[in-house]
């Protein structure tokens, strides 16, 4: 074999192996491209591989945390700072390196032997090379590329899920703080009522029974306040975990209200088509199917030829006595005989894997359609409920409070009725906040179901339906 020949062979190998270079940013750019527009309308950066950019990001985080924390800022911080996401992105880099490793051609084997007998000294040089690896390299390259795309898609899903989880956690934390503030007002009303009741009993206008009733109201209200405060603290911790903050950083101030309800609702037209087109889990399932189909082609070759070895041998034999050399060159093809394993099992396996992937794609698509319909219905109902609570129930409660004040003016109602109505009014405000939160949670689910991935168990609407406590009349 001529040197030119040899070089061209190596060149081909090198060319094939050339596309197998490691992505310098660990595929973060690919993930970022996939998640763009899927993190709830906020342009959020992913943690950079390079330390200078990371330091820059930490500064931005400090800046965001110094302000009352908005929902978008929370998403930005979580995507930059969540340790779980760091780990996941790093794992993606590892997988990329493994991919490159997997599609790099195995180094050729060089076998050297030195054999002597009384007459001769024989030196064997064999450069052997797995031919199958070379033959299947294009398939394997493509397959590894597909696998990396799937992995990238999966990581992107985790990014959008984290963004959604952060949004939800922010909504819950802000709502819980507002609800706790409402409970403080309710407790204040109950405290005032109980104090006035004490004074009533002290001067003999009320019995201990009447006083006890007002005190019971106070204790019930205080217990509710304690629960509301705990809920606020717990929800805040949930958010802090998503943000990946602790210590001083965790002492951020939350924005003091939820976003207003939208004027118009998202229409239900074409949502299923959008989900099938946009959802990352659907895309990943489709890639998986493609990969399996490619693997099936490769498995056919592999099944028939098994491990084909190609070796170049150059043996030198030297007459020990004369010093005369004899050089023996030649090719050696190592071919397994398909005597027992005709590759049927491998083919069946590949076939089954294709079927599995096809079924998984179908499953994902069916789930995506159903989830997006379900999410939209929840979204729509949540919007109606929130509008009803905010636009009808709260004004009604206010009206009832106002009318009770008028009755108090006419000495037709007592100050305790007035305070009870004030508590009911405040409860209605708290319910409205929860309904508003439920709407935004449903909206987050819908956005995720539409363009991101499966939102998992959909947010129910139980909390907003919390029964308004009827004031105890006196």
């Amino acid at each position: 074999m001529s040197a030119i020949h040899r070089l061209s062979l190596l060149g081909a190998v090198a060319f094939l192996a050339g596309c197998a270079s490691v992505s310098p940013d660990g595929l973060r750019g690919d993930v970022a491209a996939l998640t763009a527009g899927r993190t709830g309308g906020v342009q959020a950066a992913l943690p950079a591989a390079d330390p200078a950019a990371r330091a820059q990001a930490q500064q931005s985080i400090q800046g965001w945390l110094a302000q009352p924390l908005t929902q978008d800022a929370a998403v930005r911080i979580a995507l930059l700072n969540n340790p779980g996401l760091h780990a996941r992105l790093a794992a993606l880099g590892v997988a990329d390196a493994e991919r490159v490793q997997a599609i790099t051609l195995p180094n050729p084997h060089l076998a050297l032997g030195r054999f002597t007998n009384s007459q001769e000294r024989e030196i064997e040089r064999t450069l052997s090379f797995s031919l199958l690896d070379l033959v299947t390299l294009p398939w394997r390259t493509a397959r590894q590329a597909e696998r990396m795309q799937v992995a990238t898609l999966q990581t992107a899903q985790e990014v959008v899920t984290l963004a959604s989880d952060t949004r939800r956690a922010w909504l819950r934390a802000v709502a819980a703080e507002q609800v706790a503030a409402a409970h403080e007002r309710m407790a204040e009303a109950a405290e005032t009522g109980a104090e006035l009741a004490r004074r009533m009993a002290r001067v003999g206008n009320w019995s201990r029974l009447q006083l006890a009733r007002e005190q019971a109201v106070l204790h019930e209200t205080r217990a509710q306040l304690a629960r509301a405060r705990l809920a606020a603290a717990t929800e805040r911790e949930q958010l802090s975990r998503r943000l990946g903050v602790w210590g001083l950083q965790a002492q951020y101030r939350l924005a003091d209200q939820l976003p207003a309800l939208p004027a118009t609702a998202l229409p239900a037209d074409g949502i299923e088509a959008t989900a099938l087109r946009e959802r990352l889990d659907v895309q990943a399932a489709r890639r998986q199917l493609d990969t399996q189909a490619i693997r099936q082609g490769w498995s056919r070759v592999g099944a028939v030829f098994g491990d084909i070895g190609l070796a170049y041998t150059r043996n030198t034999t030297t007459e020990r006595a004369t010093g005369e050399r004899d050089v023996k060159r030649g090719w050696e093809l190592d071919l397994p005989l398909p005597l027992f394993d005709w590759g049927g099992a491998a083919r069946t396996r590949a076939q089954a894997e294709v079927e599995q992937s096809a079924a998984q794609l179908q499953d994902t698509a069916v789930r995506a359609r159903s989830e997006v319909r379900s999410a939209w219905r929840t979204y729509r109902t949540a919007l109606d409920l929130a509008r009803q609570q905010q636009g009808e129930v709260v004004p009604l409660r206010q009206f009832i409070s106002d009318e009770t004040t008028l009755r108090y003016n006419g000495m037709l109602a007592s100050v305790w009725e007035l305070l009870a109505e004030a508590r009911a009014s405040t409860q209605a405000v708290a319910n409205a906040i929860e309904a508003q939160r439920d709407f935004w949670l449903a909206e987050t689910d819908l956005q995720l179901a539409l363009t991101g991935t499966s939102p998992g168990a959909l947010q129910g609407l139980t909390s907003g339906a919390a029964a308004t406590t009827t004031p105890q009349g006196h």
Partner: protein, 464 residues
Amino acid sequence: MNRRNFFSGAATAVAAASVSRVALAALPEPALQTSADTAPPLHPPTGRPYNPVVTLNGWTAPWRMNAGVKEFHLVAEPVVREVAPGFVVNMWGYNGQSPGPTIEVVEGDRVRIFVTNRLPEHTTIHWHGQRLPNGMDGVGGLNQPGIQPGKTFVYEFEARRPGTFMYHPHADEMVQMAMGMMGLWITHPNVGKGAAHPHIAKVQRDYAFLLNAFDVEPGSLTPKVNTMLDHNIWCFNSRVFPAISPLVARQGERVRIRVGNLTMTNHPIHLHGHEFEVTGTDGGPVPKSARWPEVTTDVAVGQMRQVDFIADEPGDWALHCHKSHHTMGAMGHSVPTMIGVDHRGLVGKIQKIVPDYMVMGERGMADMGAMEMPLPDNTFPMMTGTGPFGPLEMGGMFTTLKVRADQRAGDYRDPGDFKQPPGTQAYEWTGAPASTPRPARTDTPGTAPGAANARKPAASGHPH
């Protein structure tokens, strides 16, 4: 109330479209009253002469003579009664008002009353206190079938005995009376020229009204018909003070007041400044030997009382029910007593929660009469009415008898506030102040004076 309209003539109108003219072709036109003001006395244009009564915030039904028979036409119908200016109530009544028009006849008159029912349910009329044929007594089911909606019945009998009477339904009466269906009936004595009835004196002023009560939820319009006693609107002729006309008299005139009670509780009617005698009941005139002087007469449920007196003391004299809740407007009967409760430090807190909150009742309820605070729509205030010296803090069954030396005979116009002659009014003591007042309470609040102290060990300071 607009008393200037008093003499604007009987504000009667003729019902036009509401009853079919064909159906009523042979009936007298029913007269309709649109005003809640007191109409001037109706001097009889036809029939036997008599001295007419003045129905407080009411009127007398006109009649027609038909072959010697006095014919009246009552239309039972839903009405909207102005109980006080700005406060109206959906009621059921007769001929546009509740109570219905007063029917005035003379002893011996033959009377024919057409009763047309425009209510959504059947009705009847019972002629309370009358001697009449059993079939005319108006108890639905007992004496007659109910008058179905749209139907007209005729009652006909002779007014046999002089006196003060009432009419009201005796069919679903609990509802129909709770809705205001009632009216007065006066049978004047048949006395010829110059002659006098042995027990019925001739009077210069003859006032008549019914006591009635409604339960109207503040902010609503229709009475609650199932309320038995806890009413909140206590009326003379479906009006409340200060919207009830005053009773006016010229000093020295003999005045008669006729009161009937169609509520479900008794009312001790009390007149200030004079003593009167009960000269009649719905059983007839009281013989002189059976009368005694009084300043209050209790008008029991379903009774009528006729009192006579000489209005000889000039002034503005209260005439009212002596049950203090009955001289109040709408009030919350379950509102706790706040007297003596220290509100310090709490007002601001309450105002933080209820911005329009004002303290009331801490010193009593008189604040209510002075403060003009917004109330629910169509709600009659608990305390209302102002006199020359400030708030009267009353509403409900309260009005005044106004006796004036210069009031013309037959003039029923409100003479305005009484000008008390100098030196005849209570005045403030301006001499040395009273000696150092003793503490208001020497006992612990909430305990009886002189009661043993429950916290004895701590109070006596026994060491432990």
